[in-house]
Subunit: 338 residues, 4 copies
């Protein structure tokens, strides 16, 4: 932590700042400049995190030097990417994994049909929502446990491990009993009760970035899960909210290489939610893999026009097949396989 | 709902769109323009909400005409502001109510001291966090039930009704047993499990706007609570996340008059979180009342330098006293009292 | 400037960084921490501004300590607000000045009518655009020199000093020959050729904040003008571009008190462009004055329905009269007059 | 244009709205719904563009149906990509073109060295700034005409066509006399005087997206240039300003495929400014090409540590060589060549 003081600070004020810091077991180092004095704080910066230094007289600005996350930081894992196993698939290895399926589990027939189709096209996991977060209280909110049961059944048929969203800490164990990977959605990225709950389970977690979360916020949310003992976390860029109006969200592509350097956790992308439009899914997906993503999560529906949610951005089976075929070339160019 | 078609659409495609809409019980009205055909959909627009019209061939854009919220819309309450009673105070009347207190309940002594001070200065409610949402898993997260107990005790002493945040649907009843008003924080504005839960209780709710929530999102979140039967909702503007770096958040002042026209629910502002800096609390608070706010929620701490959270933006007792004195003049100019 | 190094930096790398800094005439101060080394740079930070320190091996982050603007900083003027004289009016004194008039000068009759009306209602300046920046090349772009001539004529009739926008450095002298204050619009806030040009004239400048300008960017744009010798600059908050959809722009109210603390230049607000809707002009204007603004600039039109630009946000004469009457109470509460 | 009216509008108010529209030569079509009446306006929507319909009594919202740009719209060019010739290179064909060079022309020797290096590595154009827009008035602002002279000389030596930025309408002809392509920078995207000026020249234009420009704003800026007769415009995504703090700007990758569908103009990306950090240039560049970009513009410097501007994001010669080698594989996967 570096503390910069206001112009004209008195020696007594400097002493008072040093006392505050040193009382917490850190050392200080004072550099007197021409117009400002700078106080370096040496030691465990975490102890200073809750101290309102800006409210101490004479302080002008405060600059943290250390990262606020430890378990999620790259050097926690000797600079290697963590392998996150989901069923018999592995995120973070040479292969880019594609999770595919409908936004919502709408029934058994459509899930079986979709499961077979995406498996045949080369998907590594099956996705589908049983509990749905909806902006309006009047929208379809999922089949709930019946949806989970269907997902488990389609897993048996297709052999694809299953990922689904959990919304409520009271459902976490139930959901974990049926599926292979628990998704935390964008709107819940800072639902700390939920993060703590999935941190206590031993199911891998797919953590989506919140719509207005900085990348540090995302890593701190991962840290919540990891701090409870669950280190199996995969991060997902899915678009952020900006002034842009032409696409549903703004796909923050640079998040992928930034995260790959900053954390050891695998990083995937969701081109369906990022673009919000069917014809943007492929180019966004190709770009994510070109930028180093460890996989994608893609919405696929047998008949998007009739989908109960997100129909505008769901691919038809044939479109998904073509996506997978074209994606292989980009994965190859990136030194990866599908 | 108005559907605009792509250039060169065929009559068959138009018929197909009409069939989809009419199958849901709405009527259609086709206007053939020079280069585009426009299809008006007349009837209950809510039935169309989940239909992915953009994925129907020939559709270029879709324009909703109706508001997606009903209970929260201004005309639901005959254009009057709803009176929300909290203890013996009323939000939405002539008086602007100020809720004041520390970010976190840190102990009994500091709460009693603060309660007396803010009551003497003219606060209408006492605030204080017992369960704290924190970006880092390593930060102080509140005294929990012990904090609730302290809040209830200070209410007895000061006569001030109490508002505190609830984070977890499993705690909603517990919290409602101790306090007078339940706060839903910005990070939980779209925690639908939590909204549904407080909608089933009969405690008034203080609903804070999410960091990247549009005002329609905020009204839909209120709708979640109201749809379960709890109509006692007060909305709170607390700053949004933008590119701005100079203040903690960007205080969206225009949200206040916009909401006052669009909804019958009372609207207050949180100048402490919006600005994030002690010296901005007063000007932001004055501005909110000048723009028509029904109240404020302000952080006050006996010794901000030692606060366990939000010390940088907490007022000292003397500063709060002065704020209340100066605020009275602005309330008067707005035809209100404190 | 403070330089934080990467973990595991070698002594040779530290020496190399120090050499780069010291070669520019600054002194360095090295603090060795547990995991990071911090290098404080003491002296004229401006010399380091163009040095790409992040590209020097071993550097992790760089923290400027000094403000990048000098002439615009508060302490340049002994902590007083600069008085900017425009005709016989003064921005930055006890009075809040209101500039009013149509978006565009559309003709002589409408300008004379508007000039008389706003003068009678208490406006301090007359505004009106002769050169109009328009997003579309097909929109009305102003009467040009004929508009300037009309403005000058209405000044003679009403006694109100006149402010108008200048778009092109080639027109700056022409415009300055007719009017009392030159406006730099939001889209040109970083048009450095134009800033430099008005910096060489001796007409006061009304500098509007760009749609995505931070407050530091705004002060640096003012610095461009001031560095050429023209110290008569008034800053204007007019709304920024964010994810918000409900208002034309997001009115960043906190910019007003932040700027009042950070610079000695007067600060006004434009509630017409910020809200983009007639019914938001009054509440936003009241709020700006409550937060400490030194004035407002407001669009008024004799018949907004027929305005050639910005009709949606222009006030009718009667509405402006009422605004001025109500505003007086808020100015009074702020210890100011109109 | 579709006009939606407020609840409870009277027949007289509807008639008044229709009269306003029909007076401009459009036809109207009224659909009476359950709670709202919708008025479709059929004919040349451009005539309505300047009418403040929201200020007409009874109007609730207005929905444009037509695109505000004509020349830049995809169907203006029979759905083909326009070929923009710059010297002997062509933007918009099968080849992705890479423009490379330093941020600023700092001298003859460094430009010659850089020109040879990037030509050898496969660059198609040489870039370099002679007039530099700088946020601070105290930063290096370019060698001006001397820089143009050097650029022309290096073109002779390397055979690479040259692109450079023009800042001031008074310099447009001068710059066009030396170089092959005129760049309009992000800060000047809505400098309408400058757009008009380059529209009158017959040099191809590289138009960079403004930091807070929507994609429609960008196409309208292109329309300004094209409306004056210069149809040779290449668009460039270079990152937008959002709440994100981890990268210099937020690279809006989806802008590339969105623009490729919406306009016939070639679209390139600037991964150097978007990421602001050397190690992000390659992944962002790969992603852009994977998403369909027609080229890149990349900063390369012989010794970034000593660069007078943008050193942090400039590639070394060896890094650029490697970028080009790796990029070829992604171009191949996209069915393109370098």
């Amino acid at each position: 932590m570096i503390i910069v003081t206001r112009k004209g600070i008195s020696p007594e004020e400097i002493d008072r700042i040093r006392e505050r810091v040193e009382a917490l077991g850190l050392r200080t180092h004072v550099s007197v400049g021409e117009t400002r004095t700078v106080i370096g704080c040496i030691g465990d910066e975490a102890r200073l995190a809750h101290v309102p230094l800006l409210s101490v007289p004479g302080v002008q600005s405060v600059h943290p030097v250390m990262r606020p996350y430890k378990l999620a930081a790259r050097d926690f894992n000797a600079d290697k990417t963590t392998k996150v196993r989901v069923g018999d698939r592995v995120f973070g290895g040479r292969a880019c994994l594609v999770a595919a399926g409908p936004c919502s589990v709408e029934g058994e027939a459509m899930m079986k049909e979709t499961g077979s189709a995406v498996a045949a096209a080369g998907a590594a996991l099956l996705r589908g929502g049983a509990f749905k977060p909806r902006t309006s209280p009047y929208s379809f909110s999922g089949l709930k446990e019946e949806g989970l049961r269907i997902l488990a059944e389609v897993r048996e048929e297709t052999g694809l491990p299953v990922v689904t969203e959990v919304l409520d800490p009271r459902h976490a164990e139930l959901v974990a009993g049926y599926v292979d990977m628990l998704q935390i959605g964008a709107r819940n990225m800072q639902n700390f009760a939920l993060l703590t709950e999935v941190g206590q389970l031993r199911r891998p977690v797919l953590l989506k970035r919140g719509m207005s979360a900085t990348l540090k916020d995302l890593l701190l949310a991962a840290e919540y899960v990891m701090a409870r003992g669950n280190l199996q976390v995969v991060l997902c860029e899915r678009g952020i909210r900006t002034f842009g109006k032409e696409t549903r969200n703004t796909f923050d592509l640079a998040a992928i290489p930034w995260l790959k350097r900053e954390t050891h956790l695998p990083v995937i992308a969701d081109p369906s939610h990022a673009g919000g439009r069917r014809d943007l899914v492929a180019p966004l997906g190709f770009a994510a893999v070109a930028a180093g993503a460890d996989g994608l999560i893609v919405e696929v529906h047998p008949e998007p026009e009739s989908a109960l949610s997100d129909g505008d951005q769901s691919l038809l089976f044939g479109e998904f097949e073509r996506l997978m075929r074209d994606l292989a070339a980009f994965a190859g160019a990136a030194g990866r396989s599908l």
